[in-house]
Amino acid sequence: MLSDEDLKRHLKSWFGFDDFRSGQKEVIKSILDGKDVLGVLPTGTGKTLIYQYIGKIVDGMVIVVSPLISLMQDQVDRMKYLGEKQTVAITSNLSWSDRKRVIKNLNNYKYVYVSPEMLSNSDVLESFKQLKISLFVVDEAHCINQWGPDFRPEYLNLKDIIINLNHPTTLMLTATASNDVVLDIKEKIGLPNMETIKYSTNRPNIVLSVDTFTGNEDKNNHLLYLVNKLMKPGIIYFSSKKVANAVCEWLKDKTNLNVEVYHADLDADSRYRIQHQFISDQIDIICATSAFGMGIDKDNIRFVIHYHIPANLESYVQEMGRAGRDGKQSISVILYKEKDEILQYRFIDDTIPSEDMINFFYNYYHKLKNNDFDEKANLINYYFQRGFTKNEVINIFDERRNELLTSLNQMLGYVKTKGCKRAFLLRYFNEIFSKHDENCCNGESTQLQLEKMDLVQERKSLNSRPQNLKWQSIIQTLFSK
């Protein structure tokens, strides 16, 4: 058993840090004790460090189940960047031959990121069974409760997968879990006795602000005011790629700032460049959908603006939590126009199969089965193939829809509350907060003083991106002599 001193010494020599962040040490110790742990640690805690640290102590492989395929590749890149070269991601993004190569050489890897759907593939699972697995990590564990961000029922297979792998030590990590969610996660994963290590979700250095508008023009004008005034860099989150594109173009037009979009429609090349231009402060503002930021490690983001309201408080906490990882004063602003939630309602309708659809599918399955299914039909088919009756499926999705609507309503409650925003948010995660002051939020009729909080930037832009360079000078910069 390693003493606290040993643990700290390793931290210094492996990672260069003097001290653990809240919760890191506790989780590491319990895992090394062989306990299964659910760690609820605030955004920005450095959850990767936990399993990377354990990986350095234990012999076998560390499997990390992660919800978003795009996020996984980012994490692999980051692990490699941190020196863990034996890291790989097995996802449906891999070409068939790459996948075969990885699976064949699985024992060459120390850290393996894998999606729940891949683990549900029996060949893949069989290959893992041949190896010594020292730690089984489920990242963004709240997704189990939400059935994965895209309602992938494969998330529910994790319970059987853990049994199949002979129950390796299991670590579930999330930044956002209320007590109900904690219970639900434990039940769905089949480990009711796992230890819970929970730290406050609060991020005291992030001011919370919600601004309400009656029209889009007001909203845009205020956005323009904010981006000019606030300290850069920052992220603006959108629920729609189309709006993200349009607002990005508009801001480019109206400001002298370097503004770029980032979302799933971008090709890999552009994504790479924009991420790294942003990390190296060549971009002031990113207009993004939630795809951005999950994997990147940038600690000086000063503001996160939500142009559309997020679907639930969990997503909100995740996204606004990208600000201020350096501990310095930062701000989260939600720009809310009456009825903005319509977009979220539509999203719910677009993802959850309706009763009519389910009826139609069950009644005409024999005629439909040779067709290509869309996402919703695929989802129904998943349950159909597993022998669920029509009514069971209708109930499942009914319940799911209600949960989503409830979550959205809680989000709206946060937006509309006249009281302390932070208290509202933390109450949702079963915490009590009563220290509202002028640097907390703009609830309780508080007027936020951005100047006093050191959130205002004198300089217009961070840095001008090198523009229109001649090839000769580019070649010169590339190679050091």
Partner: protein, 345 residues
């Protein structure tokens, strides 16, 4: 899809199917797509936007119609109006469309680009003695090719690569050289995205894509032909023949005197597949390279000529001939390809 590009691919004299145009640009190579692309005179643009997101073509066509540039002919086909033709004539002067088109080769620009960028990046970081960086994204095969290349050339690599790049860039047009150099990634250098490039050039995204694409194709050909073989390993498999290799095999057997049935037997494929292969080859090859007379004999040719002589090739109906002769669709289509090639001359 960029509406200017779509306009350039439409015609005022020939109704064209926009779905087919989209399939062609995306690299779908069914015989029917290739045949009609040849008829439209846009075969050389096959697969040029394979790796470029075309978005919706319907939005663009609606826009062109509402601007009075295009009219709809039937459910699938569209045609330029006079106004549209005038617009096309002026766009031809200003719009940058891919120059490096070829009937012979496909270039996997994407693979090449990620390899050369990774190679430059790794050498650049090496020159700064930096080991911790995020490598450019590539597939595993490309990453392995670059890794092997780096290890084999490690001594002197910084100087050699810098010299190579300088030599190449100094012999191409300054503007093109800048475009290529602006893509490069290395130590604290992240280059420009497609839309950043488009912005500073003052062109549309798809034009910037074409400019860059042309630059990479030039570079690939330079590397293949250059005496200094430093970068040769990076172009492995990047340039491939457009024609599918099964089709080439069929073609070779056919030219060597095998009958269609014999070829089908030899290659163990269906007769209909053999016919598809030959149609594809006829479309790609120049007229004198394909033995048309071995498929359409003098007698049949006479019948076909008499039936269709005064009609535009696009509107020939197979039913006109199938009812009263035993000429099959394959022979009919081969003759249609032959006449198309002769017409162009």
């Amino acid at each position: 899809m960029n509406k200017d590009l779509l306009l350039l691919l439409l015609s005022s004299t020939q109704p064209r199917r926009i779905k087919l145009i989209q399939n062609l640009l995306n690299g779908k190579r069914t015989v029917s797509t290739l045949f009609w692309a040849m008829r439209y005179g846009i075969l050389q643009y096959s697969a040029i936007l394979k790796t470029y997101d075309l978005n919706s073509i319907n939005g663009s066509i609606k826009n062109l119609i509402s601007n009075g540039f295009v009219k709809q002919v039937d459910e699938y086909q569209y045609q330029l109006t006079t106004r549209g033709q005038n617009q096309k004539d002026s766009l031809k002067e200003s719009f940058y469309i891919l120059q490096n088109t070829s009937y012979q080769y496909d270039y996997n620009v994407n693979d090449f680009k990620s390899r050369i960028l990774l190679a430059i990046q790794s050498v650049s970081e090496y020159s700064y003695q930096n080991k911790n960086y995020y490598p450019v994204k590539t597939d595993m095969k490309s990453a392995m090719i670059v890794k092997r290349w780096f290890v084999q050339n490690k001594s002197e690599i910084v100087n050699r690569l810098e010299t190579y790049l300088t030599q190449y860039l100094s012999q191409v047009d300054e503007k093109k050289a800048n475009i290529i150099a602006q893509q490069m990634i290395g130590h604290d250098v992240y280059g420009m995205t497609n839309s950043q490039l488009a912005n500073i050039m003052g062109v549309s995204n798809v034009e910037a894509f074409f400019m860059e694409y042309d630059g990479w194709v030039d570079f690939i050909n330079y590397i293949i032909n250059d005496n200094d073989q430093l970068l040769l390993p990076l172009v492995h498999d990047v340039r491939t023949l457009k024609m599918n290799h099964h089709a080439i095999q069929t073609y070779k057997q056919f030219v060597n005197g095998n009958t269609l049935n014999q070829i089908a037997n030899n290659l163990n494929v269906k007769l209909s597949t053999i016919r598809e292969h030959l149609l594809e080859m006829a479309i790609w090859l120049p007229e004198n390279k394909f033995p048309y007379s071995k498929i359409v004999n003098i007698e049949d040719e006479k019948t076909l000529r008499q039936t269709f002589d005064n009609q535009p090739i696009d509107s020939w109906q197979f039913s006109k001939i199938s009812e009263r002769t035993d000429i099959n669709f394959f022979e009919f289509r081969i003759y249609q390809i032959l006449r198309s090639k002769q017409d162009v001359k």
